[in-house]
Amino acid sequence: MSEKSDTNNRMLTMAESLREAMTIAMTERDDVFLMGEDVGIYGGAFGVSSEMQNKFGEERVIDTPISELGIVGAAVGAALAGMRPIVEIQFSDFTAQAMDQIANQAAKIHFMLGGALHVPLVLRTPQGSGTGAAAQHSQVLETWFANIPGLKVVVPSNPADAKGLLLSAIDDPNPVIFLEHKLLYKFPGRDAVPEGSERIPLGVSKVVRRGSDLTIVATGIMVNKSWDVAEKLAAEGINITLIDPRTISPLDMEPIHESVRETGRLLVVQEGPSHGGFINEVIARVSESPTFGSLIAPIKRLAGMNIPIPYAPQLERAAVPQVEDIEVAAREIVKNWR
């Protein structure tokens, strides 16, 4: 399941690997273009499209006014008319402005029009806390998108996956929401990023590491935090299977069922608020399936507190699961349920 490492051992940041994916796609085909606030000379608020306007010109890397609904709507229209727009929304919090075009238009058009048209649109947007940007710039809104039939939702946890998944998202004839954690933009992942244009298919969960004591299913940046815990606990003889669904819609449950059948213990971790949060889907799918019979412990859930993200660093840290929280939870399940 996991991609083979590149021989060149290229360590890129996620901003770099995303840029590479867009550059490859735009070089491969003329119908792909990028549009968003400050994506041009500014390079995007997080530098993801840095230098791309120089390379592709103002007609293929299009700076827009501050009009999220208009931008996404225009991308939907362009997609219907044969283009493959990539839209960057500067912070995922502002998908709120564009929700009509995302949920009521893009997601529904193919089905609702009886298949006559389709919407090959990628909406890329940064999410998550940890930058001191407070409640309106730090949310994880993945649940909104996951609960709308007709959208595919990708939550990459590292540069290599981000590249391959974004290439698939751009190929996809359907609308894809691509949720990028801001804290990941600047850091290289653990794995090298392959050169070339290999795609990673949407809808395939990745088993990041294997162990027989506990299954952890984590999304986005929580995959990285869980990795640190798995590494640490391995030294104590607690062996963890860590699964990164990568796309939360569609959701590939197979490796999760398989692992839980072996470990009998499941810890799920997400950054977004727990109440009604996406990760509950994993719990529900396990609980309603025969895998349920293999569970030897109650399922443990770690998620963001049910509060808006606060500003001060000491408060912000408390609002979402940290490595220590995952460590405590993992150790407890394994120790308490033998």
Binding site: E68, L69, G73, A74, G77, A81, F111, L113, G114, G115
Partner: protein
């Protein structure tokens, strides 16, 4: 499927053009009457938004378009759809939830699209189609296709943020798009007098740098002339235009409307401004078509609609199997 026979051009430029314009207005009228009837007889489900009284605006605008030009439409979209050349049987079939319906029964009246005639879809969301038309115009510009996109919308839609953001994008990028506002005086029960603090809705363009024109939406000739100018402007790189077509809807907003917000007299007054007789009297004046010819055109429209209704009624119902597979377009290998 019938072949698409559209005739572009000024409705008074020839006998054929006049025939075409009149035929399409009548088709819309007869279609809406048929829908009302189907609804009344309990054969149609959901709700309906009829455009009776507004036939000149859809027809006049579409007379200025090529087949490749695109439109986005609204909840009150039957007229736009027909005027752009859609197949009547597939339209009725959709309303009846049939397999051969435009959406295979999945969309209904508010979601008919027709790829062949450049109709990117009606929309259940007020204002929803406006940014989409702007996007189609952007695609046209990027692809150098030379087509124009027309967004039909109502007076009410002009107060949605979607209109604003879309209008500004079109203005700054000089996109080949026409904002065609059918001002029928009401958004549901909300009169334009109360919903706007301006008198001519086309003046909204002033704030974006978009030229606006207000025309008698019940006069197909006036509508056509404004449309033609806007199309020419758009196709020559001049950018967007707002056309306000002043008109009136005779029927209630939808099934549930009790018409409490307007008077019977007002409705009657507007029935006297019926766009079809208005065009006929122009035809008489210009001596373009005889009464016999006119009657024949009316009959043809009626026959086409009745044929469509009969075909649609006979058609097979849509079935729930396969719905899950219909959500996404298959990823080609």
């Amino acid at each position: 499927m019938t072949t698409i026979q559209l005739l572009k051009g000024h409705p008074l430029s020839s006998k054929e053009h006049a025939t075409h314009a009149l035929l399409y207005m009548w088709k819309v009228r007869k279609f809406e009457e048929a829908v009302k009837d189907l609804f009344g007889r309990g054969m149609m489900h959901g709700t309906m938004h009829l455009s009776i009284g507004q036939e000149a605006s859809a027809t006049g605008m579409c007379l200025a378009l090529d087949l490749a030009d695109q439109i986005t439409s609204t909840h009150r979209g039957h007229g736009h759809c027909i005027a752009k050349g859609a197949d009547l049987t597939r339209m009725i079939a959709e309303l009846l939830g049939k397999k051969i319906g435009y959406c295979g029964g999945r969309g209904g009246s508010m979601h008919i699209a027709d790829v062949e005639t450049g109709n990117l879809g009606a929309n259940g969301v007020v204002g929803g189609g406006i940014p989409i038309a702007v996007g189609a115009a952007l695609a046209s510009k990027l692809q150098k296709k030379g087509t124009v996109a027309v967004s039909f919308f109502g007076d009410g839609a002009m107060n949605e943020g979607a209109f604003h953001e879309a209008a500004n994008l079109a203005a700054i990028w000089k996109l080949p798009v026409i904002f065609f506002c059918e001002n029928n005086h009401y958004g549901m029960s909300s009169s334009t007098d109360k919903a706007f603090a301006i008198h001519k809705l086309s003046d909204r363009g002033l704030g974006y740098g978009i030229p606006g024109v207000t025309v008698d939406g019940n006069n197909v000739v006036e509508v056509y002339e404004a449309a033609e100018a806007a199309v020419a402007r758009a196709k020559s790189g001049g950018g967007p235009t707002i056309i306000e077509a002043v008109t009136y809807r005779w029927e209630g907003h939808s099934r549930s409307d009790k018409n409490l917000y307007r008077t019977k007299e007002e409705i009657e007054e507007w029935k006297h401004k019926d766009p079809i007789p208005k065009f006929i009297s122009i035809l008489h004046e210009k001596n373009l078509l005889s009464q016999v010819e006119i009657d024949a055109i009316q009959q043809q429209a009626y026959d086409e609609i009745m044929h469509a209704v009969n075909e649609a009624v006979k058609a097979e119902s849509a079935e729930p199997s396969g719905l899950l597979d219909a959500v996404f377009k298959k990823v080609s290998a």
